[in-house]
């Protein structure tokens, strides 16, 4: 009989399954979102760099539900040429695709007078170029399927260029803009694109040197819940938590003449 390519249980007419890919699954919001989607019965292809963490996460989930709901795929998003083959394989293993989530992201907090191109470059590569490389595979597939949802976890940091972190702001502003353009292209084909804009989330990110003090911060679990709600309701843009919508609304309306004098 067939060589079992994968242990993922396939959908049958009487046991349909929602299928999702999560890029950046093994840390922070990614992991909590994996738990949340597994609870909803999704079968998940988890993509990330660290194989050990991914495997442990998959084992934990599969043991909890006593069936294979998560499968690991080790991959570094900056190895762009590998993405087309990997994507095709994952879709074949899952037997289709309903949801694609890009939550991979890196951050470096420079000091106020520091310019660090090497770190900026890394942030743009992971936060923006990796997302573009993946989504340029996902988008045409969803477009011809006339369905599916794409979720990009961007950031409130992309809403305004601020003194603190020009490189990170740029990567996220680019990502937000890319997602908006994707939405404008794909909505007419029945595909929903969601931009998630987390404010501060209590992950390892906030323990890094020069990290800002947590303000209006939520736990990764709360963030995952917010993202799941946005997926379920097929939203377009969702702030996590919702309060940040108003904070950013105010902030984006501060005139430059004032904004450039603030240390915010």
């Amino acid at each position: 009989m067939p060589e079992t390519q994968t242990m993922i249980p396939r959908a049958t007419p009487l046991t349909p399954r929602k299928k999702a890919i999560l890029v950046g699954a093994s840390g922070g919001i990614g992991t909590t979102l994996v738990y949340r989607l597994a609870r909803e019965g999704y079968v998940l292809a988890l993509v990330d760099r660290s194989e050990d963490k991914l495997k442990a996460l998959c084992d934990e989930i599969n043991q909890t539900y006593r069936e294979t709901r998560a499968v690991p795929y080790e991959h570094d998003v900056t190895v762009y040429d590998r993405i087309p083959d990997l994507f095709r394989k994952v879709v074949a293993d899952l037997g289709g695709l309903d949801l694609f989530v890009y939550v991979a992201g890196v951050i470096y907090f420079p000091a106020m007078d520091e310019f660090n191109f090497a770190e900026d470059y890394k942030m743009v590569e992971v936060n923006l170029l990796g997302a573009m490389a993946w989504m340029s595979q996902v988008a045409p597939v969803f477009q011809s399927m006339r369905g599916g949802q794409i979720v990009g976890v961007s950031s409130v940091a992309g809403d305004r260029g601020r003194v603190g972190n020009p490189g990170y702001n740029t990567s996220k502003a680019g990502f937000t803009c890319y997602l908006e353009a994707l939405r404008n292209r794909l909505t007419r084909h029945g595909v929903n694109v969601i931009t998630i804009k987390p404010g501060m989330v209590k992950t390892e990110m906030l323990n890094l040197p020069n990290a800002p003090k947590p303000t209006l911060a939520v736990t990764p679990e709360q963030a995952a819940e917010g993202i799941w709600k946005a997926i379920k309701k097929r939203k377009q843009v969702a702030y996590v938590s919702g309060l940040w919508r108003w904070v950013m609304l105010a902030l984006t309306h501060v005139p430059s003449v004032i904004f450039r004098r603030l240390s915010f």
Binding site: T12, G96, V141, G147
Partner: protein, 460 residues
């Protein structure tokens, strides 16, 4: 070769799966698809008209070879009634070609939209299975392309092992590309149909068994809400001068199903009218009305197309079952156990509150094909409405049915059932058949490229 990533569905709209759809036009292009599949690590599923009720023509995330592009009738000999067609030719094309010359396909399905490739893959039967066997028994020869690129010709004499396994083999051994079929000579475009009611399941089984030797076709309808009520339709060909105008009745224009109801309403809208009745109460009403009208024993003449292709009478009828569609469950039972099992499963369905909305019964005889579903006995085809809420319970109940059927020596039909697991499949096919299939598969498809969602479900 054309290639799009598309979401494909099954006949009952109970499942969909996105796949890379290729539409090959030649054997060379079929082989090209296999090479591409091998290179990119994908599996290949064959698809004709997509009229299977389950996942036989679906391959989520993989390649689907849509053979509807190979749809030429290559050769037709009106003297001998032998026709050679490409595999994508539909039964509709076929009877349109042969009927005006006084011939009819020996075995047809309930819809004429199926392709010959699909009919052979599932080895379909008709309402004359007890007399004419399955479609495979009327195939003189077929050619096929294997995933290895080899082109072979099979007949009962030549490559006999592949002949008896690729027919019924669900397209998992190779791609049938052309089929040579023997048609049946007819003397009229009409059938003489006798209809009579049956009051109990026992009565219905008795009618099928007693009636079969006397008729060319026989089929029963079983009211599955008020269990027991039913009706038999039995038909005979007309011979000699029984039909005063055979030339006229064998014309296509005489046979073609009307496209409007009462000459006014386009039938393509009819399924919308059916939708409100597709619930327990509505079906009870329809069935009761149907039974009352069937109480009158009567005889009438009907065209071949009208008698055989009931499923085409209301275009898109399957949409009336709603968003989650329908599935069909058709167990085949030996003569001795049919009554007990039918009674038991219909009672169970009632108890679970999951009554089937349609029950169709037929008389069968065994055949020599590898994955044969037929046996000396009866089949009961049940249509179930699927909803998001009942899906899990339905699955659970059908698994119970499977155990009951297996214990009673029954068989299953891979073109129909959606729930059959690999454990059930292994039990009903038996170790010997499974071993023979594995061996053949290794020979024709050493890289294991041919796989479908059905294949993964039933072979694990």
């Amino acid at each position: 070769m054309e290639n799009t990533f598309t979401t494909l569905e099954n006949f009952g709209h109970s499942m969909s799966a996105p796949s890379y759809r290729f539409i090959p036009k030649t054997s060379e292009e079929i082989y090209e698809a296999f090479r591409l599949a091998k290179k990119s690590g994908l599996t290949v599923t064959l698809r004709g008209a997509g009229r299977s009720y389950n996942d036989a023509a679906l391959n989520g995330g993989g390649i689907v070879l849509d053979l509807m592009g190979m749809n030429q009738i290559v050769e037709w000999d009106a003297d001998s009634g032998v026709v050679r067609c490409e595999a994508g030719v539909t039964l509709e094309q076929l009877w349109h070609k042969v009927l005006p010359d006084g011939w009819w396909p020996p075995v047809v399905s309930g819809t004429m939209t199926t392709t010959l490739g699909g009919c052979l893959g599932a080895n379909i039967h008709g309402k004359n299975n007890f007399r004419m066997g399955t479609i495979g028994e009327h195939v003189a020869e077929f050619t096929a392309v294997l995933p290895t690129g080899a082109e072979i010709t099979c007949s009962p004499k030549k490559n006999g092992d592949l002949f008896y396994s690729m027919i019924s083999g669900l397209g998992m051994l190779g791609v049938i590309t052309t089929v040579t079929l023997q048609m049946k000579k007819i003397e009229s475009g009409l059938l003489e149909v006798h209809a009579w009611p049956t009051r109990t399941i026992e009565d219905q089984l008795h009618s099928l068994e007693e009636g079969a030797p006397k008729y060319d076709y026989i089929v029963g309808w079983l009211d599955t809400i008020t269990v027991g009520h039913g009706q038999i339709h039995a038909a005979n060909y007309l011979h000699g001068d029984e039909d005063p105008e055979p030339q006229r009745t064998m014309q296509l224009s005489y046979q073609t199903l009307p496209s409007r109801l009462f000459g006014v309403m386009p039938k393509s809208l009819l399924h919308y009218l059916m939708t409100p009745f597709m619930n327990n109460l509505g079906v009870w009403g329809i069935n009761t009305a149907k039974y009352i009208t069937s109480l009158r024993r009567h005889t009438f003449r009907q065209s071949h197309a009208a008698f055989h292709f009931l499923l085409d009478y209301v275009p898109l009828w399957e949409l009336s079952y709603g968003r989650s569609g329908l599935i069909q469950y058709q167990p085949f039972l030996p003569k001795e156990t049919a009554l007990r099992v039918w009674t038991e499963i219909l009672a169970l369905a009632k108890k679970r509150g999951l009554p089937p909305y349609l029950g169709v019964t037929k008389r069968h005889r065994p055949d020599k094909f590898l994955f044969t579903h037929a046996l000396d006995g009866f089949s009961l085809a049940l249509d179930f409405k699927v909803t998001d809420r009942n899906r899990a319970r339905l699955n659970e109940m059908l698994q119970e049915f499977d155990q009951i059927v297996l214990e009673a020596g029954g068989r299953f039909y891979f073109a129909k059932n959606s729930e059959t697991t690999h454990e059930t499949t292994a039990r009903f096919l038996g170790a010997e058949t499974m071993a023979r299939f594995k061996k053949l598969k290794k020979r024709t498809d050493p890289d294991g490229l041919l796989e479908s969602d059905l294949y993964r479900r039933i072979f694990g």
